[in-house]
């Protein structure tokens, strides 16, 4: 099992995307509490956590859809915290939002064309997306509402790819999709990474995240509870971080979390 993203540049390089002490409020609620992360070029960085942990908020804040109370977002070494979402998109941060959010009254091809409107120069074109997903070319004039959930998710990914981003933010790809479809969609990741992209993804399905990620970070109620390479963390640690079982102490409890 070798993931293309495994040969990560060490801590000596510059992170492509960096989040520093991010605090985000939804009204009175503190959705994110001093979150930091560094994503290096070529990585697949996975944020895991339960519902309401703040994963989507983190991704949306990086994309510019939420404004942090304090903290900053750096892209390629430059502070982008004050930039509007569309400016971040044209700089190379693309996001596949939760729930796909395709343009419902537009056809498949029109959705891709919107994605390509403000594209940076790069390897991805609508033609290349069609080459990767043959069915899409045949159904390019169909309204996206007529597609299945998995097909819609693929179009949403295509719409983000044709912008030729440097970092791709994937928010809950697996949401509402059958496991076999989820497998297929994650199966495309190596092809996408091969074009030089960096991926930051949010995933509720922990085993899926552990399979594809070169590095994971677990959130719980807006705080980081675990961080590391999938190979370096144990299932117990992940479980404790995910559910908040009093940190590492949970692993020591007799009879629990033993080898499955």
């Amino acid at each position: 099992m070798s993931t293309p993203g495994m040969d990560v540049k060490g801590d000596g390089g510059t992170p492509l995307l960096e989040v520093r002490d991010l605090v985000v409020h939804h009204g009175q609620l503190r959705a994110l509490d001093a979150i930091s992360l560094r994503v290096f070029p070529g990585e697949v960085y996975a944020i895991i956590g339960a519902n309401g942990a703040g994963k989507s908020t983190l991704l949306r804040t990086i994309a510019g859809l939420h404004h942090p109370t304090t903290g900053s977002v750096l892209f390629d070494g430059k502070d982008v915290t004050g930039l509007r979402p569309e400016r971040r998109a044209t700089k190379g941060i693309a996001m596949v939002p939760e729930g796909r959010r395709l343009f419902g009254s537009l056809s498949v091809e029109e959705n891709l064309k919107v994605g390509a409107t403000y594209a940076r120069p790069g390897p991805w074109t609508i033609e290349r997306v069609y080459e990767m997903f043959g069915w899409m070319r045949e159904r390019r004039n169909q309204p996206t509402a007529q597609l299945s959930g998995g097909e819609q998710q693929t179009v949403a990914i295509g719409r983000a790819l044709v912008a030729n981003p440097r970092v791709l933010l994937l928010d809950e790809l697996s949401l509402g999709l059958a496991p076999v479809i989820v497998q297929r969609i994650y199966g495309m990741l190596p092809q996408i990474l091969a074009t030089g992209l960096t991926v930051l993804l949010v995933e509720q399905d922990v085993s899926q995240a552990l399979r594809v990620a070169s590095r994971i970070q677990c959130l719980l109620e807006g705080r980081t509870t675990l961080e590391g390479r999938p190979a370096d963390v144990t299932a117990d640690q992940v479980e404790a971080a995910y559910f908040g079982l009093a940190g590492a102490a949970a692993a020591d409890r007799p009879g629990e979390g033993s080898e499955a």
Binding site: A63, G64, L65, R84, P85, E86, A89, T90, A94, M95, P97, R101, L102, F103, G104, S105, L106, E110, N111, K113, V114, G115, T117, Y118, A119, R159, A160, A163
Partner: protein, 291 residues
Amino acid sequence: MAWVNAIIQGILTGGLYALFACGLSLMFGVMKVVNLAHGDLAVIGGYIAIGIVAVTHVPVLWSFVIVVPVMALLGYVLQRTVIQTALDRGVLTTLIVTLGLSLVIENGLLQFFTANTRGIGANLALVTGAFTIGSQISIGYLLLLTFGVAVAVLLGLQYFLSRSKYGRLIRAVADDKEAAQLSGADYRHVFGIAAALALGTVALGGIAYGMYVDLDPTTGTDTILLFAFAAVVIGGLGSLWGTLVGGVVLGVAQQIGAQINISDELLAGYIVFLAVLVLRPQGLLSRRAQP
């Protein structure tokens, strides 16, 4: 035959009403703004035409070459400043702000141009001329031309929305402006373009109405805005061709009302408007026009 004539007049008047209505419908469909100053802005377009003709002596018909771009630019600027600021505070705020804009325009026109009515090109052959079919049917050149312009405007809008880059962005932003932002589109700019289209088209309506009847500072709200509303509601909210259908239904109802009793013209139109609101609130063409 008088009835046939009334129906023909009504259908042709529907073209004028479609020019009033299509911009109102577009702005509502794209940015959920009900622009209460829509009619007053049409009147501004008409007044600019009067001014241009008086100063430059260009033929009345060609005044639109200047008026439409000027009004489109005004639409873009208004959207990016006053209306966008209101939108950021919530859709309801736009109602109050565009009402305020309407009052400012009306009183401004009253202040600078008095309450006198002004016609555009009142003695042109085009305005007064008509051809007759048989002894009872008389079709005015101006009304026929206006109907043709309305159809051409709707075809042009449909082509722009379905084929052009900005048309696609307008539809995308109307669907999901956040997703459009993630694709790099500044929805405020796209809104501005939609507003430019809206005011460019209603300016044509203002000029046509100034030629057909005449304009005064209150024409915008007491005629143009009301007829535009009625046409949009009858035809179906957010539907481009629905504005023509709605305009035609409104026009025919008015003409039939006038045929019964000349003072029933407006009443008949509003009764149909109310009937559609009660019986078919989604309008006659219920789905949003898919180009």
